[in-house]
Assembly symmetry: C2
Homo-oligomer: 471 residues x 2
Amino acid sequence: MFQKPYPSVASLVTSNAPIPSVKAAGWVRTKRDAKDTAFLELNDGSCQGNLQVVIDKTSLPAAEAILASIATGASIEVSGELRASPAAGQKWELAASAVTLLGAADAETYPLQKKKHSLEFLREISHLRARTNTFGAVARVRNTLSFAIHEYFQNLGFYYVNTPIVTASDAEGAGQMFQVTTLDLDKVPRVKEGPGAGTVDYEKDFFGKKAHLTVSGQLNGETYATALGGIYTFGPTFRAENSNTTRHLAEFWMVEPEVSFLDINGNMDLAEDFLKFVFGRVLERNPEEMAFFNQWVEKGVVDTLKTVVQKPFARITYTEAVDVLVKSKQKFEFPVQWGIDLQSEHERYLTDVVYQGPVIVTGYPKEIKAFYMKLNDDGKTVRAMDVLVPRLGEIIGGSQREEDLAKLEKRITELGMHVDDYRWYLDLRRYGTVVHAGFGLGFERLVQYVTGMGNIRDVIPFPRTVGNAEF
Amino acid sequence: MFQKPYPSVASLVTSNAPIPSVKAAGWVRTKRDAKDTAFLELNDGSCQGNLQVVIDKTSLPAAEAILASIATGASIEVSGELRASPAAGQKWELAASAVTLLGAADAETYPLQKKKHSLEFLREISHLRARTNTFGAVARVRNTLSFAIHEYFQNLGFYYVNTPIVTASDAEGAGQMFQVTTLDLDKVPRVKEGPGAGTVDYEKDFFGKKAHLTVSGQLNGETYATALGGIYTFGPTFRAENSNTTRHLAEFWMVEPEVSFLDINGNMDLAEDFLKFVFGRVLERNPEEMAFFNQWVEKGVVDTLKTVVQKPFARITYTEAVDVLVKSKQKFEFPVQWGIDLQSEHERYLTDVVYQGPVIVTGYPKEIKAFYMKLNDDGKTVRAMDVLVPRLGEIIGGSQREEDLAKLEKRITELGMHVDDYRWYLDLRRYGTVVHAGFGLGFERLVQYVTGMGNIRDVIPFPRTVGNAEF
């Protein structure tokens, strides 16, 4: 049987009883060295708080020498007694009977000395930043969200499906995609003769054709949904977008459920239920991390999450939303009229001012939405849905899919795309087609929303953006 | 609250009681049309078995017309009574009071007619193959394994970490990697002047340098393990290997736990416990799928899994393994002597003949293992471990990592690599270094092992291999 090498700090600081003899290990966050007593704050990443190690220098042999070797960042092992702490804000402390230095950290060069570091600086040492309070908390909340996503869909009997990362399909639209190749860019092979003479000879490339990194698993996901009922993807997707903002990553994780026999109303129920569940899990499992974010990162973030969990989501049509916005007489940077895509300022006006809670907007003009969305009977709008949440705006985008072969082919042609490129996707409508729906959620935006972190680069371990693929 | 549009076929075929009035939906697997009665086998992907729909043609209005429109592959909705079935092998049947065709499937062109299709043929229609018994079963077992992996590590308090997919790090070794680029291969920009004049100008590429798809998340994973204690990755990795075999994919999913304060013995306990858990979950949750694989795909596969779950893993050193193999007098294709890498034939001799169960081999010659593995005191062997299982050989490879900065730098230099390329990785040893260990598991090989499927392309929804990136 596997046994953890040491009890976690989390298990010790929440112990139900004192422990006469225990060994703990972790990294030293701070050292406070007084005349007769020294205090070490020990952290092992298992929780937001530290375990206070108390060293009675009068009774611990060689205490001075050991303490001299221990600085912030050092790894140590401590044996001793877990006893009630007289200090405020902590139930237990570890009275050390022995302290062993495992790995030193040079106080001159270790970058994470006890002081406030800027997030920009910490981004430059992404390999060490998980050792800080902020990034430890982000990592734990991100983990809770990840697992909650799996739990939610597994509870429903949906299957986790791994859609491909590398794709040679023309169906996704080639804009802003990364190319994947094994060709030598120093001497790109060319087609020698015939129609394509002089162009890049992709027959010599690994996949025998031009290949890219996926921008979405949805189309592939639909193939499994129309065989297995309910599925979800949760994997990396890519955008080669030249956007240097706090909300864009070139590599990010997406969650995309897709469900057969589900219409737009069921899809709204699913999205609402899903968000309530995953936010509920974080509130329940990470109270300390959330208290930390609420105090130090974004005031009010806990209340915002509670609103989403507790309040029924308002449901309005795009047309109603436009009416409300126009009648509001509010000055927007982007003026509102039927046909425009709603901007963040409009979405937030709906959530923060009008409905004071989450809002789902459906029935968008077909021109501003994707080709595969189910056309309404009006011929003008599609069964798209955007889920908007307070303080942010859109967090989920989805739709009922067009299950009618003829209508879907017509739309593809209207948009100047080629039916032949969608052959396998259209087969799903050709053979045993069913009403189905799904949505997409950018996972890092979710983590950003839950933690209140201002820059999306700080909610993924190693961010990839224009000009940056360090570590 | 989200409600599934229909009760699943799985819930109906395992119902505890008859249901006087119920609606079900799914796809028709087969139709049997007799004089007064017709039978449809309905499947919705929720389980291996079908729900038998019984249509009493004498009482159902327009039965003949509806039945004429329904062929294999059609999607239908059925209302009726779930009642005890007189037929053998099924508890319930659905006596239809109404049948609605949702989506037809043309009997002439639908590729999945009722007959045995070759796996090769089904691979060409990967967008439809999940609708077959075999691939539905693979998808469900793959899902169980995925979630079991998360459950196992979450139960231990390990954190799920997403390591980067695109990497510009030189630390991984450039062999057999895919390049990721936004440069136009038709006119690759060149450095105009200076030292690199004439070479590809990667400053113009998206990341400002040459970038690749990752081959492993381990090094990045270690940065989080040495901050948070125990972590695991579970994401796609890539090999641009020109291998056209039944065991190689260019894109596959890897599971890589990494644990601080863990030594090689703890690592062995972890790997053994982990495999027993995930195999146990499949045996428990997918008995019908496993019975299917055992009967149709690989006889004995269930017993093999049970052996792994029940039998303690033998633990031997590489040196002992070589001794046993040499003394066996067995004729191997690759002769055995100390220093060679063990081949599949050797591994399987150990598991299938000598130990008749799983075996963990440790202490491999350093020359055949990676630079980051912990050197033993003999100076010749490293604390690597390969976990071997019956019928297959290696399923997991791992090691205790070298936590000693000086030794690790020495090894990097010995191998002709550059210490500077590993700067951030070495920081983990420079600051608060700890004993730590981890392993890697190719997820598709695991699925292949559990299902008995002969070709790895059949255990991932859309396989990517040399010359193939369809769908």
